[in-house]
């Protein structure tokens, strides 16, 4: 088995791949024409929720199973993981959404107003019922990418140089030149500062038309996400999308009406038709791609299985396509 690898792409997929291979003794080079982590990578715009149970409401069981291992992986690679769970709420007339969600997320427990008050006092002013996923976590995507990139440099992972050894292609949507069934799913998000609201954990607002999640960062900053549109556009936030996100945040707590708008982010998530990732071998090259909205949740599993494949010759238990025709 080869022990020298060139990884193409320095987003969450490529960096997690580099970390996994490097920590198992391989020689790794990461090549990304854009250099260090930044707004060119889809993962820069991520929410950073490690929320397999919530995702399982609409995602396949494999995503839940593999996603449950993500937090431990990130911690073992130096990331700061915040283990506070996820809270799920719905506005008064949408309580049936809460019932559906509870049925489809079996680990969810129900909180009454006192329970909400104990976790998120600001939301107890607004909601008398919520669901809680105690074992879910979150991280700060940008801080995590930058820290991982620094850590890789310390571990001797090269960030430039010639292509050598086995090539692992983690270029996300840019790999459409080879992965013809990869498509982009546009997402729009906002970053706001709102000192008047304190949240300790990601909160999901269920809504039949305008679902929203809010992830707290530090210093009163929140990430509001995210739209999901079937187009590969990587720019151009529309007024309607931004308005819907703002409206939903305002409905969650009116104090968001006074928030300062810091950023409007747009990018497209790379996805295969079943919205599940793939490890695919085409010719000499191995592709790891299609993380969709599950970059931080599934990059660890994809990296581990790819490393098992290239270092140990073990066939990945899921999402593997050997020598697929173009």
């Amino acid at each position: 088995m080869t022990s020298s690898f060139t990884i193409l792409g320095g987003g969450v997929c490529g960096l997690a791949m580099a970390a996994e291979l490097s920590s198992r003794g391989a020689q790794v080079t990461v090549i990304d024409p854009h250099g260090a982590p930044g707004d060119h990578a889809c993962s820069w715009w991520a929410g950073g929720m490690l929320a397999p149970e919530c995702e399982g409401v609409s995602a396949e069981p494999e995503i839940v199973q593999q996603g449950r291992l993500a937090a431990a992986w990130w911690e073992s690679h130096g990331a700061t993981i915040i283990r506070k769970g996820t809270m799920v709420v719905a506005l008064g007339r949408d309580h049936s959404e809460l019932a559906t969600f509870a049925r489809r997320a079996p680990l969810a427990t129900t909180l009454d107003r006192d329970g909400i008050d104990a976790c998120e006092p600001h939301l107890a002013e607004r909601f008398s019922k919520a669901l809680f996923l105690a074992d879910e976590c979150h991280l700060d995507p940008r801080a995590t990418l930058i820290a991982l990139n620094d850590r890789l440099a310390q571990m001797g992972v090269a960030s430039e140089g010639d292509v050598r050894g086995q090539v692992i292609d983690c270029r996300g949507l840019a790999a459409r030149d080879a992965l013809t069934d990869l498509r982009g799913v546009k997402g729009e998000m906002l970053v706001v500062r709102c000192p008047d609201v304190t949240l300790s954990r990601p909160v999901r607002l269920l809504h039949p038309r305008f679902p929203l999640y809010i992830v707290p960062r530090s210093d009163g900053v929140f990430m509001l996400g995210a739209t999901q549109l079937e187009t590969g556009e990587r720019h151009r936030a529309t007024l309607r999308s931004v308005m819907e996100l703002m409206n939903a945040a305002y409905a969650l707590h009116p104090a968001f009406g006074e928030a300062e708008l810091l950023e409007i982010g747009v990018d497209a998530r790379p996805a295969f038709p079943d919205n599940q990732p793939r490890i695919r071998r085409i010719g000499e090259r191995i592709y790891a791609n299609g993380l969709f909205r599950h970059g931080f949740l599934l990059a660890p599993a994809l990296a581990r299985m790819t490393a098992d494949l290239v270092l140990e010759g073990e066939t990945p238990e899921v999402w593997y396509e050997d020598h697929r025709e173009r």
């Binding site: 489809r104 498509r183 549109l229 079937e230 556009e233 038709p273 919205n275």
Partner: protein
């Protein structure tokens, strides 16, 4: 089987293409539903440089007739422009005309609907108007050129079923020669079966399948329901009556 603007469709089920967990599940749901028509929202996915083409290619691959719609339009002008865009993109004169009159309940705007339907029919479109079960509105739509009517069962996405059975029934009686489709509000296969039993030619739904825990199984359920409804409608069902009648002959006993 329903005939819309001269085209016979081999299914009484029409399915929307939004909100599925993934395109793969959407495709599988379509296969299991044997739906004959896929509705596609043009407006939202269009994007600046028509970057929605991957998704449209997936829809074309379904191998069913495509009925583009003007979902999300709130004015006549917006709907007409969207219809013209849809004609270019999908190379079809068919348009499901939807003009929202009330943002919260998504009730159709009956006045805008008639105006836009007139303009589009004049411009050569085959208009499928998403309307209410109001008889007078439906007459106006037919007058301006609509040869299909698509009254709601209940507001979009509610899953409440057929809210006004009397209204739907009188519409069927009044427009004997116009294909009628119950569009929107269906949540369960039994409600779809009911619509077809009432003599409706087809049903159009989206959320009930896309947001079910298992969309593929629900699609299969709806396929069987419309088939059951059609069989019942052809079979000349009995009329309800007040007196109980034993279905097993009782021998050797006098009438009481």
């Amino acid at each position: 089987m329903p005939v819309f603007y001269g085209t016979e469709i081999a299914s009484r089920l029409m399915l929307g293409t939004a909100q599925y967990p993934s395109p793969a599940i959407l495709a599988e749901a379509f296969r299991e539903s044997a739906a004959g028509i896929a509705t596609v929202s043009v407006r939202r996915e269009a994007g600046g440089e028509q970057a929605g083409q991957d998704f449209w290619a997936l829809i074309q691959d379904l191998g069913v007739a495509v009925l583009p719609n003007t979902a999300g339009c709130h004015s006549v002008r917006e709907a007409v422009t969207t219809a013209q865009m849809a004609r270019e993109l999908f190379d079809t004169n068919w348009i499901k005309l939807e003009i929202i009159g009330h943002a919260d309940t998504l009730q159709p705007d009956p006045f805008g609907l008639v105006e836009a339907a007139a303009q589009l029919s004049e411009d050569g479109f085959n208009v499928f108007p998403y309307c209410t079960e109001d008889l007078v509105l439906c007459e106006r739509l037919v007058e301006v050129g609509c040869k299909v009517l698509m009254p709601w069962g209940a507001p979009i996405g509610t899953g409440l079923g057929l809210n006004n059975i009397y209204g739907l029934r009188s519409l069927r009686a009044h427009f004997a020669d116009i294909p009628l489709v119950v569009d929107a509000g269906l949540g369960l296969p039994s409600q779809a079966a009911h619509a077809i039993e009432l003599g409706y030619d087809a049903v159009l739904l989206n959320t009930a399948v896309a947001k079910a825990g298992d969309p593929v199984a629900m699609a299969k359920g709806f396929a069987r329901a419309v088939e059951a409804g059609a069989l019942a409608a052809q079979a000349d069902p009995m009329d309800p009556r007040d007196m109980a009648a034993p279905s097993t002959p009782v021998l050797g006993k006098a009438f009481l």
